[in-house]
Symmetry: C2
Subunit: 146 residues, 2 copies
């Protein structure tokens, strides 16, 4: 299936970049790909506690940083205390529920004109942008109605 294919591709990327594939890295990647959510470092740590009772939180953070540097993972910083991590697939944005924190992927063509205008007005050499959309998810909207 598609998921294991993504994992294999990710492992290939690590190999090509000369990053060792350790059991911990394998498990973290696997969890990131399988979980359709956008977990925090602590989520990952807790989820893998069973498989790796001795794993250190530092290992999770270290490897998330490695994955980010290699371009496999994106770090999302919202208002709340901890970062969330997202396995990069295709270009998409996130829609975030302000009530329950749920994050839903939202595909949309890149906002190239915005980048171009920004570059023109500010003189910056623009590399990329980020955008998030906030609102209330259907579940919470229903709960609110009662």
């Amino acid at each position: 299936m598609a998921v294991s294919h993504q994992l294999k591709e990710a492992l290939d990327t690590l190999k090509e970049t000369g990053v060792r594939i350790t059991p911990q890295r394998h498990a973290i990647l696997e969890y990131l790909i399988n979980s359709m959510s956008h977990p925090t470092a602590d989520d990952i740590y807790k989820a893998l506690e069973g498989k790796f009772p001795n794993m250190s939180v530092a290992t999770v953070y270290n490897n998330l940083r490695v994955f980010r540097e290699v371009g496999l993972v994106k770090e999302l910083t919202y208002g709340d205390s901890s970062s969330r991590f997202d396995f990069i697939t295709t270009h998409h944005y996130h829609v975030i529920c302000e009530k329950c924190g749920k994050i839903v992927d939202f595909h949309y063509p890149g906002l190239d004109e915005v980048e171009q205008l920004a570059s023109h007005v500010t003189g910056f050499k623009v590399s990329h942008h980020r955008m998030e959309i906030y609102g209330t998810c259907p579940d919470c909207a229903i709960k609110e109605a009662h």
Copy 2:
């Protein structure tokens, strides 16, 4: 001038909302409006050290939260460790230099279509969105060239 007018308006907002106007609050607001940068809580704390030698960091944080709740101030969370705070004027985005961290305001009409599409696709009741543009500022680009 326009700045003191903004301050007066902000103080009026506080009055209307029943938020007491203390010297500390006055000073924090004034600093936020005058500083064309986007300071962290600690920046503000340090900047007002001279005027208020006994002010607590907690006061800065508390009041930034109050201002945010009242709608005077926006909290910006980027990848780095601490939040930045921005006095709300008109609707604009930020262009951020990845080398030196400089933040430049960038005016652009709201991305209404994006919100509408997101709402349609995900079923969310959308309230707002955020977007930042990343790149290299002219100063850093020159430094890099050498």
